[in-house]
């Protein structure tokens, strides 16, 4: 304790002094800047997409104010407004009609389209000319609201029809949601097992040489342009499966799902394969040393150990299918029908944006709704990724480090 310091000191305050390393400092700054920039860009994209759908949220309030003023103000002005909007909206209808005809609309929608307007559209047309009695004014108010695509839009979100361009637009997101879910479920039901089994095969059974052949080939599918997959599905798969199942509409949710599965397989495969290969070889050895066969080892030891990664793979596959536009446009038939039948044409969220964005007018409700759908897609994929990330992290830590 009381011995003096050695004569030749190695650990002096001088030699241990903090040093400033310029290159390291710069590198760190640049890297962190790039990282923050990418986060900012993602954030800005979302802000932009969401901003464009804002009118949907503010219209409701404005409209209430408007109607309040309207009830106090002269009735004639109001009817005027109503007439104007109606003429405005008639034009888009003629506009919209051909596009609807292009879609392989079956009998069902046409009849329902004819029925629905009776409840919504008919009164507006009938009442507009006669605005004399106070009773009808109130109804008329509602009609104008509806025409302006105001907060009425929100209630149509839950309707079953997607008729954005018409005298009386209905934005039935429900039909689109069901369509999207149908395609997604079909795609994942096909792609999931195929991709996971392929991954199990390559990582647990295949010889190194086969692995080196199979892996790049499946991964190459990921680089396939989706337009090519869509084309293939439209021209080849559709006919092929129609011959087998004999359904009516050639392009439908099932064909869309099969085509999307082709797009999702490489993603699910690659990530599952990585997860399976990351399982330490010592587990394999331990299992084999206990007299387990290769298959038992693969399915009872390696696969369970890799579940978090495989779960993430499936989530990312869902994300891919959910956001896939081109294949949906080409292979699903693109008609927003609400039904549980997998062999019925459907329209997905992404395809709706893809096909209708060019036809909308800036600032219109339809335009806002499309951006709203965009935000939904964004939020959904964000949630999927977040869940994949955090679930996997949590599970992995628990698995490999105990509690």
């Amino acid at each position: 304790m009381n011995s003096p310091l050695p004569s030749k000191q190695i650990f002096t305050k001088e030699s241990l002094k903090k040093q400033f390393r310029l290159s390291e400092f710069l590198a760190e700054k640049v890297i962190s800047f790039v990282a923050f920039l990418s986060i900012a860009i993602i954030f800005l994209i979302f802000i932009f997409v969401f901003k464009e759908s804002m009118p949907l949220f503010s219209f409701g309030k404005k409209d209430k104010v408007k109607t309040e003023i309207q009830t106090t103000s002269d009735v004639k002005v109001e009817s005027y407004e109503g007439a104007e909007t109606s003429t405005e909206e008639i034009q888009p209808e003629t506009y919209g009609a051909p596009t609807e005809d292009l879609n392989p609309v079956t009998q069902e929608t046409q009849t329902s389209e004819e029925l629905e307007p009776d409840t919504y559209g008919a009164p507006t047309e009938d009442l507009n000319p006669e605005t004399a009695t106070g009773k009808e004014v109130i109804i008329d108010e509602k009609a104008t609201e509806n025409k302006e695509g105001a907060d009425r839009t929100w209630s149509t979100f839950f309707s079953t029809e997607w008729v954005p361009v018409s005298d009386n637009p209905r934005f039935g997101l429900l039909a689109l949601l069901v369509g999207t879910l149908k395609v997604t479920i079909i795609a994942i039901l096909i792609a999931g097992p195929l991709a996971i089994l392929a991954a199990v095969y390559t990582s647990c059974f295949a010889s190194n040489r086969r692995k080196e052949i199979i892996k790049p080939i499946i991964e190459m599918l990921a680089a396939f342009p989706s337009v090519v997959i869509g084309f293939f599905a439209m021209m080849v798969l559709a006919t092929f499966f129609q011959d087998i199942f004999g359904y009516d509409s050639r392009l439908n949710a099932f064909i869309g799902g099969v085509a999307m599965a082709l797009a999702a397989i490489p993603i699910i495969y690659t990530i599952s394969e990585d997860a399976l290969s990351a399982v330490p070889k010592t587990f394999t050895e331990a299992s084999l040393a206990l007299g387990a066969s290769k298959a038992q080892t693969a399915f009872f030891v390696i696969l369970p150990a890799a579940t978090p990664g495989i779960f993430a793979a499936i989530l990312l596959g869902i994300g891919r299918v959910f956001g896939e536009t081109m294949i949906a446009l080409m292979a699903t038939g693109n008609a927003a029908l609400l039904s549980a039948n997998p062999f019925e044409s459907v329209r997905t969220f992404a395809a709706t944006i893809g096909s209708e964005m060019a036809e909308t007018v800036f600032g219109e409700t339809h335009y806002s709704v499309l951006f709203f759908i965009g935000s939904l897609l964004f939020i959904f994929s964000f949630i999927l990724n977040a869940v994949a990330e955090f679930y996997v992290k949590g599970k992995l830590i628990k698995k490999f480090q105990g509690k």
Partner: protein
């Protein structure tokens, strides 16, 4: 030596072009403990892994010669490697429990061998853990993840897991290298008890351990078997100079 369990004839092993085992010939008696000693990298683990064909997993490995277990060459084409490993269990140098619960770790072997009865499984789990001297520590936390155990506990769990499939021969690769003296002596006692039923081959770097636990000792050096004999003989008056140098620590 009377009752021969394993007879090795001119066994050579290549990792690619590198010859890691050079014409090993030896006999391993039944119901005895045989210790393999030798400096690091001399091929003890490699030889041990030959006995239950774990080296099959390494694509570059080539093996020549014969490995006769009760007179049957286990490298014969008609022999099913899974059946070999059911009868020849192995405890690895590094503990490697599955990322499952403690219970599932032990029950895995019996389950894949077709035992489904819950009560029977419970019994196997308990006896195996007791044999491996870890039952008292773990009996209240059988459902916890095995990955949360300490290194020594993990190793004893792995021993219990091997015992649960009741093999005939047990290969142990430095099973006590990560254990404290108390658990080490427990393992040594365990080895002593087990040799009634099993043939045990144990790799160790600890000379005292080899002397205490084994009946026979084989000394490996640079992929060659230098000498094998009764442990007493090897440790008191070995025939080879190299053996003596190694045992007395005058090595190199």
């Amino acid at each position: 030596m009377r009752d021969i369990k394993i007879e090795v004839k001119d066994l050579s092993l290549y990792y690619g072009d590198k010859k890691a085992l050079k014409e090993i010939s030896m006999q391993i008696p039944a119901n005895k403990v045989t210790a393999l000693i030798g400096p690091s990298g001399c091929g003890k683990s490699t030889f041990l892994r030959c006995i239950n064909r774990m080296n099959d997993l390494i694509p570059s490995v080539k093996i020549t010669g014969e490995m006769l277990v009760e007179g049957v060459d286990i490298y014969n084409k008609d022999v099913d490697v899974v059946n070999i490993r059911k009868k020849i269990g192995m405890v690895f140098q590094k503990s490697n429990p599955f990322p499952k619960s403690i219970y599932e770790n032990i029950a895995y072997g019996p389950k894949i061998n077709g035992i489904k009865d819950k009560a029977q499984l419970n019994e196997i789990v308990e006896t195996s853990l007791r044999q491996a001297a870890i039952w008292d520590e773990l009996k209240d936390r059988l459902d916890d993840s095995a990955m949360g155990l300490s290194g020594g506990q993990q190793q004893r769990l792995c021993i219990a897991r091997t015992l649960a499939v009741s093999p005939d021969i047990i290969l142990m690769d430095e099973p006590a290298s990560a254990l404290d003296p108390i658990s080490t002596s427990k393992i040594e006692e365990l080895v002593h008890e087990l040799k009634e039923q099993y043939t045990i081959i144990i790799v160790t770097h600890n000379m005292q351990q080899a002397a205490r636990t084994s009946d026979y000792t084989a000394f490996f050096y640079l992929g060659e078997l230098i000498e094998i004999g009764k442990t007493n003989t090897i440790f008191t008056k070995p025939e080879q100079k190299q053996t003596e140098d190694y045992i007395t620590g005058r090595f190199g």
